[in-house]
């Protein structure tokens, strides 16, 4: 089975985004285990990727795999809701 793949879109590279990235990474590992593929895209550096992937808002977490593809928009402070959203329709 393929490992889970997630992409996080953030704006900029600063302590705030660093903290957010670490937070979301740990949430993903909680859900999908340590071998999760986790990618971070800074939309200010790579707007063309944001364009290609139709990203409007930051931060956005995209669950690329497992399907269905799912976008979660927000600052991920409500951990339980994020986890719920990440795992929805997903049976390991």
């Amino acid at each position: 089975m393929n490992p889970a793949k997630l992409s996080l879109y953030v704006a900029g590279n600063n302590p705030k985004t660093e903290k957010l990235i670490a937070h979301v990474r740990s949430l993903c590992e909680q859900s999908f285990g340590a071998d999760v593929l986790f990618e971070v895209v800074n939309v200010l550096e790579h707007p063309e990727i944001a364009e290609r992937e139709s990203i409007m808002a930051t931060p956005t977490l995209v669950r690329e795999y497992p399907l269905p593809r799912r976008h979660i928009v927000g600052d991920f402070t409500q951990t339980d809701r994020v986890l719920q959203a990440l795992e929805m329709n997903f049976q390991p």
Binding site: A11, V43, E48, E51, P68, R69, R70, I72, G74, A85
Partner: protein
């Protein structure tokens, strides 16, 4: 933040959209955002697309189209109907889409966010093609995507601000719920309220009428009020600027023939070359004949003649002309005559106006006849018709061609039509054709009511129609009240007595 104290006046960016640059006094405020609002079906997307397309084709200015609602594919194929080849522009790097219409299947909002990604995408697109024009269409859809209205407002403000800092001129479109009410839904105008244009598509007397209004331009001037516009294939939006009419047309002393020697004599030697003549009469009084003679008279002198017929078919017109001794077919073959027959109901009045203008510009006639102008009355509201007549008359005058319009009066005897009320003051000559009831017989009378810049015959003369056209005869002497339709016959003695009353005593002696 330190504010720069630059006090540059607002510069306008010509849009290239016909008529719009006139009512905006030169275009949209450059480097600013203009909000275009309208209810459903008011052509907001067309205006946004045209703004970009004209920029590319007329001014070599690249554009970015941010679509929130329709997919780029839909826009590409919809705009093809106007002859706008967006894919080619995209290939040349002049047009780029920012597709914000694609909704990911499932989006969940948890906590705070902002639209930095969208702003970054727009900036990226603007830089990529060196855009000078940006269109965002339409803001309503983004409010459906993200529900936090106050956040969206501040984000849209940020987008507008960042576009301004990039120096691009922007159109943002937004929905409104009523034709006459709040400017836009969601209070959009609160953050991009510097410049507002309203598009309307009002249903009036079962007829649709599109109008455009510049509500405000902060710091610069524009024309006020609603202006009719239409959307036509291969051209897009065409605004009809009524106030563009300026009384600047040149005037000529050169006379041209009316096609009838007798009528020329009555008019003091013919019509002026660049005058507009109104022929008014009840049905069957000879208006079409007069238009036919006007055309034939021109063609015989080698002038180019254009006839717009809204009442009769080509075949009917040609047959009638032959009946009066004129061969329209031969004139057409010589290239001196062009007959355009159209049923008034085939198009809206604005569309007729634009089509007529196009034909006139293409054929470059020396004289134009419209038979009849009043037939167009029935496809429009009174207000719309008045605007049409004024726009058409002024256009014809600017072309410096002679125009003859016929107008049907609603009553057989006497009377006036709406057409006359609208244009009698802007026409140079008015000819009245009236039925005269005389000893149990209907006869026809003709008089030149007005002949600007010339003396003319003031008699009401009898005219007859035969196989050689019309013939103007002697004045009606023993009858009065023809124009009002209330005839009074005067016995010859009475006429004699009355003429004597005004005769100078010296002359009698």
């Amino acid at each position: 933040m330190v504010q720069e104290l630059n006090q540059k006046p607002v510069i306008k960016l010509p849009t290239g959209i016909v008529g719009l640059d006139h009512i905006t006094n030169g275009g949209l405020p450059k480097g600013r955002t203009t909000l275009v609002t309208g209810s459903a079906g008011t052509a907001k997307t067309v205006l946004a697309s045209q703004f970009l397309y004209e920029g590319i084709t007329k001014f070599n200015q690249s554009g970015v189209f941010v679509t929130f609602e329709e997919s780029p594919d839909d826009i590409r194929s919809n705009m093809l109907g106007f002859g706008w080849d967006i894919p080619t522009c995209e290939q040349k790097g002049q047009w780029v889409f920012v597709d914000a219409s694609r909704q990911p299947n499932e989006t969940l909002v948890v906590g705070h966010y902002d639209l930095t990604a969208l702003v970054a995408r727009i900036q990226y697109a603007v830089e990529k093609v060196g855009a000078q024009r940006v269109a965002l269409d339409s803001l309503g859809a983004i409010f459906a995507q993200f529900t936090d209205v106050s956040l969206l407002r501040s984000e849209l403000f940020r987008i507008a601000w960042s576009l301004k800092s990039m120096g691009v001129t922007t159109i943002m479109t937004a929905e409104r719920t009523q034709e006459y009410g709040e400017i836009a839904r969601f209070g959009v105008e609160e953050f991009v309220a510097d410049n507002v244009i309203i598009l309307r598509n009002v249903l009036e007397e079962e007829k649709r009428r599109r109008t455009i209004e510049v509500l405000k331009f902060r710091g610069t001037s524009h024309r006020k009020g609603e202006y009719p516009f239409t959307i036509i294939p291969n051209q897009g939006i065409v605004v009809i600027p009524l106030s563009a009419i300026e009384l600047q047309q040149k005037s000529s002393k050169l006379r041209i023939t009316s096609g009838s020697k007798e009528l020329d004599r009555m008019c003091g030697g013919g019509f002026f070359r660049d005058s507009v003549i109104l022929v008014s009469g009840a049905t069957g009084t000879g208006k079409t004949l007069m238009a036919t003679e006007f055309m034939a008279g021109g063609a015989l002198n080698g002038e180019r003649c254009l006839l717009f017929a809204f009442e009769e078919s080509r075949d009917q017109l040609f047959r009638n002309a032959i009946g009066w001794g004129f061969d329209f077919e031969a004139m057409e073959q010589q290239g001196l005559l062009k007959v355009v027959c159209e049923y008034p109901e085939t198009a809206g009045l604005e569309d007729h106006l634009i089509e007529m203008k196009r034909v006139i510009e293409e054929f470059k006639p020396n004289r134009v006849a419209i038979d009849s102008l009043s037939a167009l009355e029935r496809i429009s509201t009174a207000k719309g018709f008045r605007e049409f007549v004024i726009a058409l008359t002024s256009f014809i005058k600017h072309q410096e061609v002679a125009g003859l319009f016929s107008s049907t009066t609603p009553t057989l005897l006497g009377g006036a039509s709406i057409t006359e009320a609208h244009i009698s003051t802007i026409t140079d000559s008015i000819i009245l054709l009236r039925y005269v009831e005389l000893y149990g017989e209907m006869r026809r009378g003709l008089t030149v009511l007005k002949m600007r810049g010339s003396t003319h015959d003031k008699n009401i003369r009898e005219f007859t129609i035969d196989a050689h056209g019309m013939h103007i005869g002697a004045p009606f002497r023993d009858i009065s009240g023809i124009l009002s339709g209330n005839f009074t016959r005067l016995v010859p003695d009475e006429i004699q007595r009355m003429s004597n009353m005004f005769m100078d005593d010296d002359i009698e002696k």
